[in-house]
Amino acid sequence: MPPADQRTGSIYDLGYRRYDGLRLGRQHAVLSLYVYTLRGAFGIGRRASSKIIPIIITVIAFLPALIQLGVAAIVSDEVDIIRPENYFGFVQVPVALFCAAIAPEITGRDMRQRTLSLYFSRALERRDYALAKLAAFATALMVLTLAPQALLLVGNGLASKDLADYVGDNWKDMPRTIISGVGIAAAMGAVALAIAAQTSRRAYATIAVVAWFLVTWPISGILVAEVGGAGRAAALLSPFDFVYGATLWVFDVEPDQDSVQDLAEIPLWGYGAAVAAYAAAGTALVIRRFGRIAA
C-alpha cells in the first residue's frame, strides 16, 4: 500500500491484456483434462441432477463398510470383519452400475456437443485425449473400489483393542488390496469406455455397457455350471467372474465350492491375465476410436 500522503495517482488500463506468462504444454493439458473429467464423473461443478446418480452409486459401494463399522461401534468389535476379497466381490456391482451410468458421459458428452474439435485444435494429441479420459474414468472407479476398503481398514483399526496389532495383522493385505482395486477399475473401465465411445447417444451407450455386464454373466454361469466342457472357458467372458477370479488369485484364496471359479477349473492366474488383456484391449480400442473420429 502506498502511503496516504503520496500525491501520485495512476489510472490502469483494464482492456484486453496480452499473456506472457508460462505455457505449460501438453503434459499440463492432459492433466487438466484428467482432473476436469474426474470431477465431471461425479458431477462436481455441475448441476445437482448430475450429481444424484454418481453419489447414489458411490454410497452403495460404501454401504457394507458403513454397516460393518456401525455394528462394530455399537455392538462390539467381535463381529466378523469383512475380508478385502469379499468386499471386492460385492463392490463389482456398484462399479458395473457406475460404468453403465457414467461411461457414456465421459466421452459421449464431447461427441454429442461437438467439443472434440476444440480439444483436438489445442496443444493435445488425439491419443492424449483418449488416455486422459480413460485414466480419469478408471480413477473414478478406483474411488469406488479402494476408498471403502481404506475406510474399513482405518475404522476397524480404530475400533480394535490394539491399533498396532491390527495394522500388523492386516499389513500384508494392503498391496493386494491396491492391486485388486486398480485391476478391477482398469479392466472394467477400459472396456466399458471402449463400448460407450462407439455411439454418442447416451441411451444406446448405457444399454450396450449393461448388456456387456449382464448378458455375459448368466451365460458364464450357465455355461460353466450347467454345460461344462469347453463351455467352462466362459468364465473368462463375464467381467464379474473374471474380475473376481483375479481377486482370488491376488489374495491367494481358494474359490468357494461350486462357485464359477471353482467349477471352471481355470488356474487362477488365468483370470489375472484376463484382467490385463481386457484392460489392454479396451485401452487400445479407445485410442483407436479417437484416433479416427471426425472432429
Partner: protein, 244 residues
C-alpha cells in the same frame, strides 16, 4: 389405438442396424441351449426351466429388451423434441400411450418369445416338456407387457428412465428381492415367473417360483393397468421444457 402412430413407432424402434443387433441378441440363448445339448447333461427339465428360462431369459433378456423398447417408444420423442408433433393433434392421450405400448410390447415379446421357444425346444429335445415351453412362452409375452408399461411410465416421468429402470431391474429385482422375501410382491420378475407356473407342471425341485399363480396374475394385471393409467395422466399434464 391409432394405426398411424403404430406405424410411426414401429419405424422409430426398428431401424435396420438395431434390428440386426437385436436378432444377434436373441440368438444368444439359442446358442447356449445348443451348447447345453452338445454337452449332454442330466436334468434337462430343471435346466430349461430354472436356468435357461427363469434366470437367463426372464432374469436378463426380457427386462433388457423391454427397457430398450419401453423407454424408447415414448421417451425418444421427448429426447429428440418430436413429441410436440404427436401431442399437438386431436388424439386422446390414452390412445397415444396405448399405441406406443402396443408396439414396444410386440417388439419386446417378438424377440424374446422367439428366443424362448427355439432355445427351450432345443434344450428339451426328446424330453417331456410338461408345459415348460407353453408356460414360459406365455410368461414372456405377459411379462413383456408389464415391463413395457412400467418403463413407458418411467420414460414420461424422468429423462433418466433408462438408468432408473436399470436400477430397478438389477438392484431391486436382482439383489434386494433375493434378500427380503416380502419384496417379491413388488417385482415384475416374480409376477412373470408366477405366470409361467400356471402352465408349467413340474415338481418344485425343478421350478419353484415365489409367488402363487393367482397372486402373480392379479399383481401383473394391476401393475399394468396402474402404470398405463399413470402414464396417461402424466402425459395429459405434460409441459414443454422451459429451455427447449
Amino acid at each position: 389405438m391409432n394405426g398411424t402412430l403404430i406405424r410411426l413407432t414401429a419405424r422409430q424402434l426398428l431401424g435396420q442396424k438395431r434390428t440386426v443387433l437385436l436378432l444377434l441378441f436373441g440368438l444368444v440363448p439359442v446358442l447356449i441351449a445348443v451348447l447345453y445339448r452338445v454337452a449332454g447333461n442330466d436334468e434337462p427339465q430343471r435346466w430349461a426351466a430354472s436356468a435357461l428360462n427363469a434366470r437367463l431369459i426372464i432374469g436378463t433378456f426380457l427386462p433388457l429388451a423391454a427397457l430398450v423398447f419401453g423407454t424408447a417408444a415414448l421417451g425418444s420423442e421427448f429426447e429428440d423434441g418430436t413429441a410436440v408433433y404427436i401431442l399437438s393433434k386431436p388424439i386422446p392421450r390414452r390412445v397415444i400411450v396405448l399405441s406406443k405400448l402396443l408396439v414396444s410390447w410386440l417388439a419386446t415379446a417378438g424377440v424374446v418369445l422367439a428366443a424362448t421357444v427355439v432355445a427351450t425346444i432345443i434344450a428339451l429335445w426328446g424330453e417331456p416338456r410338461d408345459g415348460i415351453l407353453v408356460g414360459f412362452a406365455l410368461a414372456v409375452v405377459a411379462g413383456a407387457l408389464v415391463y413395457c408399461a412400467l418403463f413407458m411410465w418411467l420414460s414420461v416421468l424422468t429423462s433418466r428412465a433408462l438408468i432408473v429402470g436399470l436400477l430397478y431391474v438389477f438392484i431391486w429385482e436382482g439383489v434386494i428381492t433375493r434378500l427380503f422375501a416380502g419384496v417379491r410382491f413388488f417385482s415384475v420378475r416374480q409376477y412373470t415367473l408366477g405366470i409361467a407356473d400356471t402352465v408349467v407342471d413340474v415338481p418344485a425341485r425343478v421350478f419353484n417360483p415365489r409367488l402363487g399363480e393367482m397372486e402373480a396374475v392379479a399383481l401383473a394385471t394391476i401393475t399394468t393397468a396402474l402404470t398405463v393409467y399413470l402414464a396417461v395422466r402424466r402425459l395429459r399434464r405434460w409441459e414443454i421444457g422451459e429451455a427447449s
